[in-house]
Amino acid sequence: MDENKALEELKFIKKVIDESKRTIIDNGMGYIVWGILIVIGLLSTYLSIVNKSYFAYGYNWFVVIGIGWLYSFFEVRREKKVLPVVTFSARIVGAVWFATGIVMTILGFVPTLTGAIHGVYVSPLMAVILGIPFYLTGVLYGIRFIKYLSIGWWAGGIIMFIYPGMYSLVLMAGMIIFFQVFPGIFLYRKFKNEKLLAND
């Protein structure tokens, strides 16, 4: 074996490793489904306050969050069976999102029900927390714009903390559409382009 062959082999190894690491196995559906559910929750809360119809006030969140967790439970089970490859970055991203989901579920219900936090501060609190998993997802998947979405989440959180009000429900819904659902659609398209599944 000569020097050129050894160098070529090292380059080959690096190329294969880089390509495999970059494989995106996140189909983005989690971002889209959870995003739509939260937007429904936020807007239904906003409308019930505006219309002073408190018939289902608060219960809407039990329904949307319950559906979200059910979806995640079945989706994770399905993905374990159908995904042809599991990358280390996808495992970390999945774990971070799961832990974030738990924290957000606790913060969404417990402090408001106990009165520890006024309801108007829930949206900014959620926004600053959401910046963390988006930042990590962007770094681990090597997608710069997803990393920078965290700045949007943190900036939105600061604005809603400084100027608390009813409008924050609508602002948060808008942020979710632009900073979560749209990136979810981007990931979905990227995943489809990878043609990882047998029927792709």
């Binding site: 000569d2 294969v16 990358t87």
Partner: protein, 98 residues
């Protein structure tokens, strides 16, 4: 041009397809047969032979399960395989004087 002693390299890994399989598996947690086939650009039969060789050397682990009615094999690098791959790369670098 310097001639290297290729015998210093692990002969189980020192094949284009097996090297590619090991390189894929070192960078992911696990991968199934079809994914590996696509990544290393090999035929079913050819890949099976190389995977068997890596399995026999205990460099990779295979898990077989049914997805629906289809059998599916998933492959993972073992600790022994990881060590062997690291040594292989180290030797290549050493040969190049890095």
């Amino acid at each position: 041009m310097i001639d290297f002693d290729y015998q210093q390299l692990d002969e189980i890994i020192h094949s284009r397809i097996r090297l590619a399989v090991m390189s894929v598996l070192i960078s992911v947690d696990s991968a199934d047969f079809n994914y590996l086939k696509k990544k290393v650009n090999a035929t079913d039969g050819n890949l099976s032979v190389h995977l068997k060789k890596l399995e026999e050397a205990e460099y990779i682990n295979a898990t077989k399960e049914f997805v629906g009615k289809k059998p599916q094999s998933s492959y993972k690098l073992t600790a022994k395989g990881k060590k062997a791959f690291e040594i292989y790369v180290e030797r290549l670098e050493k040969l190049l004087g890095r």
